[in-house]
Amino acid sequence: MRFSGLRVLKEGLTGNKGWGPHWRDPEPKAEYDAIVIGGGGHGLSTAYYLARNHGLTNVAVLEKGYLGGGNVGRNTTIVRANYFLPGNSEFYSHSLKLWEGLEEDLNYNVMHSQRGLINLFHSDGQRDAFARRGNAMINQGDDAILLDREGVRRYLPYLDFDNARFPIYGGLYHPRGGTARHDAVAWGYARGADRRGVDLIQNCEVTGIDIENGKVTGVQTTRGSIRARKVGIVVAGRSGQVAAMAGMRLPIESHVLQAFVTEGLKPVIDHVVSFGMGHFYISQSDKGGLVFGGDLDFYASYAQRGNLPMAEHVMEAGMTLMPMLGKAKVLRSWGGIMDMTPDGSPIIDRTGVEGLYLDCGWCYGGFKAVPASGWCMAHLMATDSPHEVAAGFRLDRFRSGIGLMDEEGTGAQHNLH
């Protein structure tokens, strides 16, 4: 089933009776060429690109719950390529380019909206840092414009520019940044993978990883054992538990990150705005809800819900930046489990076990990475060598200290990112 404007029109005139399921619900086979553990954004895009780029179609995605039920359905949907460090910047640049062609590639409307991202700054020192970051983005081939105070006022007239603690000096504008409909990204990749022959197996929890003579031979699941010579672990916040099945301890601590949405409002915030000094960022969904969030709760947690102190902190930061927010009513809040690495950058790498691969450590920035993460993980699983734009995401960088990617410059230590 291909989607098109004509098809929508035809279905609309004939009672919408022609739509079918977007993907099959197959029984697991006894053996696959490759297994991807985890049916979230990264796992589904890995399976999609295994089939699309490498012709590997005898592939299964094993998901313990339902497709897209984890972080890909819990994030704040922001897409951007404004990283500073070599190793990160080329990766996110590649990801943004994939985003820009994603809807045509998938034949699926992921509602990618390049409405522009503005990171605010509040001091001369911060302006210098942002100018430097903007130059790094331009050197990478992406777009960045340094706005002065009046430049920001033109786009965001509703901010409190003269706040006593954080007066607004300007902002770094990234016009190609924006948002996408997060669930549709998972569904689009799922449908694309399924159409190429990938089996998407839901309600199938992996309970063990079979290893013989240092090589992976398959997995044990709640729906029986499945053989495969290549297995990718793509399970975000649950990476520690799944890796433990292969006898590994990872440089990952899982933390909870909260997000919030208000009732639907008329269009009021046209961009994605981030207020780093207050740990606050916001955008408006196409349904009209103001979607916003802040920092981690900052303690190890698997709860998928946060505590009230951070909720209060986020609301305070929002009110500091844009006092009009006080008129809106918060509809709901939720939390996701973030796989935090010591340096705040991800891991896409081989493991000590032949045929077992790892894609994790996305911290609180995994959504924008979904296309490139799948692209690079598929490359790694198919060719056994890292993709050039993900060459820095090595697992051993923590042990050796070589190639750490610490965007915030706070040190490669847990609890600092």
Binding site: G240, P251, E253, A300, S301, N307, R399, Q413, H414
Partner: protein, 94 residues
């Protein structure tokens, strides 16, 4: 979440600063080698369930506290002074 400081009693979580896994009290020998130091600094059990971590009562008495708590329910199960835990670890060392 409320945490019982062994010195001050039960207090709001906001008085405490979270540092990380209580493995931080078990610093390896300087010559223990790369793998031991990698484990100490970076690698974590990261359990979904009961865990022991280190908090500082920075908004109170300043004590370091080892908190046993559940990472799924956020229930705090036990607290003890990190100095006591560290002394026990020193005694247990061969």
């Amino acid at each position: 979440m409320r945490i019982t400081c062994p010195i001050c009693g039960e207090r709001d979580r906001r008085e405490f600063y979270y540092v990380g896994d209580a493995v931080l009290l078990e610093r390896p020998d300087p010559e223990a080698g790369e793998a031991a130091w990698d484990d100490y600094l970076h690698n974590r059990d990261n359990p979904a369930g009961d865990t022991r971590d280190l908090w500082s009562h920075e908004g109170g008495c300043g004590a370091w506290v080892v908190v046993t708590r559940n990472t799924v329910t956020h229930e705090v199960l036990a607290t003890e002074l990190a100095s006591d835990v560290a002394a026990d670890l020193r005694e247990a060392r061969p």
